[in-house]
Amino acid sequence: MGCVMDSEQLARRAEKHVALRKGLMIVNALAYIGWIGSQGLAQSDAFGVPPSTWEIVRHLAMPVWAVSLLLILAQYAMLKRNRAVAVLVDDERSKEKTALAFQGGYWVLLVAVASVYAATFFEPDLDMRTFMPLLLAAGVAAPAFTVTFFGKD
């Protein structure tokens, strides 16, 4: 009975770590889009929003991104010290999902770059200072979204 209780506790603890990691990754990805994306949007008057507002978004999003990244790293460090839980969190299935997520990020970035390139045929004066940060944010944030939203079984 003791063994069963231990297994259940370990499994639950690992599942909590997985849920926490997913939450942190989403916050990190959204904050990154807010931080880097707003840098690009500040170069234009997109959505009728003045550049000063995008600057505020940038200054608010950057600390959120940094704190969430530190928390993700802290969780990795915590798991390094607790191997019994770590092997349940990062098993071969989660590694396979992570690899698929990075492939997803690659395709999102590729399609986004191709879309911007295609758009230049219709609008030759596209400002790359606006689009490059948005492309970067999309490519970096896409893996976090794919692993979180499409990683469910």
Partner: protein, 69 residues
């Protein structure tokens, strides 16, 4: 001829009165991985298949088999 990988993981696990959490800890994978293998959603690597067979004390061929479609 097309074939599908099937398994008897749930049968062997329940015969030994193990929960999915017990088997997960013994095989060092998540409970969800055990669940998805049992439901034939996730196909484990050879290493994990051998490990599952080892912890359950059976041959890997008894645990996993091919079924013609």
């Amino acid at each position: 001829m097309a074939e599908r990988l099937r398994n008897r993981l749930k049968d062997y696990r329940t015969a030994r009165s193990l929960t999915q959490a017990d088997l997960a800890v013994m095989a060092q994978v998540s409970r969800k991985t055990i669940n998805t293998i049992e439901n034939e959603v996730f196909v484990p690597s050879t290493t994990l298949a051998l490990k599952l067979a080892q912890v359950l004390g059976v041959r890997v061929e008894d645990l996993f088999y091919l079924e013609a479609l």
